[in-house]
């Protein structure tokens, strides 16, 4: 009877693997083909690296967008992890179902919706501006500081912080709750101060998970389109927004350059994710 269940595992894996590999492989193939100027729709079959050269040397906006995207991703990730760390350590002292539930609740709000909410709160005619006006701090909407659709990406960063803090907090809380309370108590008995326990016991415990989570968050922010497109300005643009604008350009040469940018984003994100995976594995 048991023999019935013994078959090559790859037969069972085949449907999922084939679909994913065909879709990924095809999209990668067409992306590379288009990026080297192989555009079959207009009969151009000549391979050239012109689009790469244009993006990397001719196109100043690419470098500005790359720097802008790095700034958003690093700032949002760093601020989120600090807040999440403090919050998780604080919440871990009391084991509460309600907290986990509240943090999971955040999953119900896609990034797009969360950004829309931020827009309604922080725009110059938004809720906070209204409150400031009724408190007499400002007279007109235009006096309210520009916090969304601003040149420095403040709105974008705030939006990501709102989404990533709960995400990272859940990760850190999971580590803290899975660890024996013992370490902390032992350190206390050995005379460690509160700060020393935090510095030498708690933080080293959560660090690998936090770094792995941070890298995933960084990769996600660096490559996602909706939030910077909605909460950003025309210049400087986040790299994914620039790539899509080039890709949708009627000029087919611009399309190739959009593809080049998207491939650069992909390479960066995949490398970061693999590093994150390695760190996560070592932890186990």
């Amino acid at each position: 009877m048991r023999d019935k269940f013994v078959y090559s595992p790859w037969i069972a894996l085949a449907p999922a693997m084939i679909i994913l590999m065909v879709l990924l492989g095809a999209s990668l193939f067409y992306a590379i083909a288009e990026s080297v100027g192989y555009i079959s729709t207009i009969g151009q079959a000549e391979v050239s690296l012109e689009a790469y050269r244009n993006v990397l040397t001719q196109n100043n906006e690419f470098w500005i967008s790359l720097a802008f995207s790095l700034w958003i991703s690093v700032a949002a990730t760093a601020i989120s992890s600090v807040i999440a760390l403090v919050l998780a350590i604080w919440l871990s002292r009391h084991n509460s179902h309600a907290d986990t539930l509240a943090l999971n609740w955040n999953l119900a709000f896609p990034h797009l919706v969360w950004s829309v909410a931020l827009l309604l709160f922080l725009a110059q005619s938004g809720l906070f501006a209204r409150w400031a006006a009724s408190l007499g701090w400002i007279d007109m909407p235009s006096q309210f500081p520009v916090l969304v659709r601003d040149r420095y990406g403040i709105g974008i960063i705030l939006s990501y912080i709102g989404k990533e803090v709960p995400f990272l907090t859940i990760i850190i809380l999971a580590v803290l709750r899975s660890q024996a309370v013992g370490y902390d108590v032992v350190a206390e008995n050995l005379g460690a101060s509160r700060w020393q326990r935090l510095r030498y016991v708690t933080i080293p415990q959560v660090m690998p998970a936090l770094i792995a989570g941070d890298l995933l968050v960084f990769g996600f922010i660096f490559s996602s389109y909706e939030v910077p497109a909605l909460l950003g300005v025309g210049y400087p643009r986040a790299l994914p927004a620039l790539a899509l604008r080039f890709f949708l350009d009627p000029d087919l040469r611009a399309r190739s350059e959009g593809m080049v940018m998207s491939l650069i984003i992909t390479v960066i994100v995949v490398v970061v994710a693999l590093v994150s995976l390695k760190i996560g594995e070592r932890q186990q």
Binding site: M1, R2, F5, P9, A12, L13, A16, I19, L20, M21, L23, L24, S27, L28, Y30, L87, W90, L91, R93, H94, H97, D99, T100, A102, L103, N104, W105, A108, F109, P110, L112, V113, S115, V116, A117, L119, L120, F121, L127, A129, R130, W131, A133, S134, P166, G219, S223, S224, Y225, E226, A229, P240, A243, L244, M259, S262, L263, I265, T266, A273
Partner: protein, 264 residues
């Protein structure tokens, strides 16, 4: 003092988490809420009703639901056998299989969408519900397999052997034993596949090519320059299914948590 501080942190956290829902409700159900007024003065359901009866909103909701439904069914059927061997078997290349499943979760939808856009235009899948659903499998299938395989890791095959030994046919065993035992995880996996598809923006935009308009696409264009009441109403429609799903699975998570606690 310490208790007070920790209570304050908690209240602050809960406030931040509930705030988006509150502001959507405030904007969607009020009217003539002019600038300096700190709170809505006139409450009404007219804006909300008008948005509900708008044909574009209606068709975006139904299209989104269809696509998400197709995606969760496909993900379950395709992911089930893969999850089973990954959860229950040790074999050469298992690591490789995991890595191949992990890749689609990190490759940005931007790159996938741009590449598939060209392919699907050529083979005539662009702008169709089926094409969009197929593209959505890239982000949903891995998560389905992850969820189901961790359930299979706790699955006891002896139940199946027993049913077979007692003379049940393999098909009957599958439906009455395997599926029955896996039902909770199948539900969770299906719901999450549904959610990922439901909230997909970029893949739908690039594959749907302006012909498939789902709620996120409608919301995005409204948020780029529409009036707050419409934006808030669309947002409420958009988050209704996710909130429902989180509420449903939360109970299940709690049940599992209690099970684990009972064992100690």
């Amino acid at each position: 003092m310490k208790r007070l501080a920790s209570r304050l942190v908690r209240v602050g956290l809960y406030l931040v988490l509930i705030a988006p829902l509150l502001i959507f409700i405030a904007y969607a159900f009020s009217t003539r809420w002019f600038f300096p007024q700190p709170f809505p003065t006139e409450w009404t359901t007219i804006t909300f009703q008008r948005a509900l009866h708008d044909s574009r909103t209606f068709s975006s909701v139904t299209q989104g639901l269809w696509i998400a439904l197709l995606v969760s069914i496909f993900s379950l059927i395709i992911g089930f056998p893969a999850a089973r061997v990954l959860g229950l078997r040790e074999f050469r290349g298992r690591q490789l299989a995991w890595l191949l499943l992990f890749l689609p979760t990190v490759i940005p939808p931007l790159a996938i969408g741009m590449g598939l856009n060209i392919l699907f235009l050529r083979i005539g899948l662009a702008g169709s519900i089926f094409g969009v659903a197929l593209a959505h499998l890239v982000p949903t299938l891995p998560y389905t397999v992850f969820t189901l395989s961790s359930a299979f890791a706790r699955f006891d095959e002896n139940y199946e052997y027993q049913a077979l030994a007692l003379g049940a046919s393999p098909i009957r065993t599958f439906f009455t034993v395997t599926l029955r035992l896996m039902m909770p995880s199948l539900t969770v996996a299906a719901l999450f596949a549904f959610l990922i598809s439901w909230s997909q923006y970029l893949l739908t935009l690039l594959i749907g090519g302006g012909r498939i308009i789902t709620l996120p696409i409608l919301l995005f264009s409204a948020a780029s320059g529409g009036n707050p009441a419409t934006i808030a109403t669309l947002s409420l429609l958009f988050i209704a299914p996710p909130i429902l799903v989180i509420a449903l699975t939360a109970r299940q998570l709690n049940q599992h948590g209690n099970l684990i606690k009972n064992q100690f």
